[in-house]
């Protein structure tokens, strides 16, 4: 009974945050803001759902597998998003009209 309630709380938190991330991907005006919405989703929300699975099955292999999934996502998603964002900036992806700070541009100006 109590474990079921814990599992359901974790699952609903994960699903709610994932839904918010999809809405953010749909509504955000700009590639980089969209990317910021997605990256947080991928690391934390999937982690919550996988953690609920490890509580439900309650056996050693499943717990190790879910730890591996969470570790992989936590380690690899920032790396791939950083690569993608830098490539997008190099190819001059359009920024949002109301963007205030462009730190990479300022840095390049200083070096020149």
């Amino acid at each position: 009974m109590i474990t079921e309630i814990i599992i359901l709380t974790l699952v609903f938190l994960g699903v709610l945050l994932m839904f918010i991330a999809s809405l953010g991907l749909f509504k955000m005006p700009d590639l980089f803001t969209r990317m910021s919405a997605v990256t947080k989703a991928v690391t934390f929300k999937v982690g919550l759902i996988v953690l609920s699975a490890s509580i439900y099955f309650n056996s050693f292999p499943v717990v190790m597998k879910s730890i591996l999934i969470i570790f992989l996502l936590l380690l690899t998603t920032p790396v791939s998003s950083h690569l993608l964002g830098k490539e997008a900036y190099e190819r001059k992806a359009p920024l949002w009209k109301k963007t205030l700070i462009d730190e990479l541009k300022d840095k390049k100006k200083k070096n020149n």
């Binding site: 699952v11 699903v15 990256t39």
Partner: protein, 90 residues
Amino acid sequence: MSYFEISLWGALLALVVALFITLIRFIYGPTFMDRVVTFDLMTANLIGIITLYAIVSDDELLLDIALVLAMIGFFSITAFAYYIKKRSNK
């Protein structure tokens, strides 16, 4: 069906709706990069769906698929970034 199974099916339905919302962005995404970002979220969404289905159907082996999908997601995004870089250097 107990309340547990019903609420898990509801969570699965919400995840599928979220997948369709990302699919709309995939269709309308103005540039190629937007589609790659969408692909990232779709992989995460599929991992969530597979894990929830593993809980609903009480089958541990489905978690292996989620594990493989997590790896493939990383490699595909990195490969996309690599080839976009190669294409822009020309």
